[in-house]
Symmetry: C3
């Protein structure tokens, strides 16, 4: 059995205050800790903290996909209705394919905790060989959302030609169909 | 404790027949009655009845947001698959941000009553400081949908800089997180 | 009681391998067998097998709607995240109205079977007098998805001016509201 290739995973915090250092970034570290817990195949995280500016975030996402070669980029923050919340728009602008099922499932799961989950506009999409997934900003909501969508992520990365992601099955079971699907 | 500012709420019936007076508008009054029941902070309703014409509806929505200064506009009607149903398209045309969670939740709730709920294309979005929400046309469905999404509306209006909406908590609890989110 | 008009229903398999004859098309026949089981009003199937090319599929959908006069076109395959999966994009390109409720409900139902259901990007929409619905590629998933959405399809076809579709109510109950809605 061949050792899986190194996976690069972008972790992008989108926050005016965090990018100016006025606020401790808690979302990025929560994502990193989650990945450390569940992934057992080799990976390295590439972290970025950017302001809530559509052009800057779009450029950062392009760089992580096209230059850094990430197979997965996870963002946190900037998905609400406020005027500075532009993460979904930047994501849609750089993706060739949108994956509406991610946002639908994350909102459904978050709704069990708070009725304001419908205000979260998070989406996901594909740019080249990279899956980009938006998460909310709060560490608790990040964990809930990753628990819901992560089981589908390794197979998605397979389908777009990325490295084989293996999880610690005692913590999280990644689903791969027996035959080619979906 | 300061008295909250007056909230202006647009109520727009989208219907060829109602706009020609051939049909009694039941959707608009159902929304108004609902708001009277649940809101206890000061508000005034601004009602409009327009035909199923995308340009006319889009112009009306712009006027209610930009000139009248509504923080919330609720439409009824025009969300189905028929050729004259253009409410979601007019809404998307005038919004800077779309809020997919509203339509998803309303369809999920309506599906418990009728399998044809998937034919309803209703959406929601933000234009400037105003949240626009599409509702279906039937009074019974209006009530079900508002029960589902209204708990998130006051906090959404907070986030886009609108007046503080207070509800009668015996009838409907508006959710606001302790810390800034989502 | 007048005999209902003949309904033409397009069944489109989207698959590079099936279109080259390297692979036996199982999706198209599964859809045809399903329709034969549930429909009792007169209908004829118009089947096509096309490669995963956006332009070719879009042209085929236009032909089935505009020239062949289908009231319903059901596609199978090409809804995943891989680079050749373009069925949702071709569907959106030819539709005047999108019907997000179809994809939402199909993903919700498929999620009960597999967590990778969120990778399916299937959608639905209206072009003129025709409803186009994307289904996944696997026969088992096709059946699950049709069971979920078909109850709403006959009424949708009514609303866009198509022929009256009648189902065998022992197998599948098509829902039509008493009054005009939704």
């Amino acid at each position: 059995m061949q050792e899986p290739a190194m996976a690069r995973i972008g972790i992008v915090t989108v926050s005016d205050r965090a990018s100016r250092g006025e606020y401790e970034d808690r979302g990025g570290p929560a994502i990193k800790a989650y990945l450390e817990r569940v992934l057992v195949s080799p990976w390295e995280g590439v972290t970025r903290v950017v302001p809530d500016e559509k052009g800057i975030l779009a450029h950062e996402l392009e760089d992580l996909c096209d230059q850094v070669g990430c197979c997965l980029v996870i963002t946190t923050g900037g998905t609400g209705p406020a005027v500075r919340d532009i993460t979904p728009e930047a994501t849609e602008a750089v993706c060739e394919k949108l994956m509406p099922g991610f946002g639908e499932l994350m909102r459904t799961v978050s709704l069990q905790a708070v009725p304001t989950a419908i205000l979260s506009r998070q989406t996901a999409g594909i740019r080249g060989g990279c899956l980009i997934v938006n998460l909310p900003g709060q560490p608790k909501a990040i964990e809930e959302c990753l628990d819901a969508v992560f089981p589908a992520i390794p197979y998605c990365v397979d389908l777009i030609g990325g490295p084989y992601l293996r999880t610690d099955e005692e913590r999280l079971v990644a689903f791969r169909p027996k035959k080619k699907a979906p």
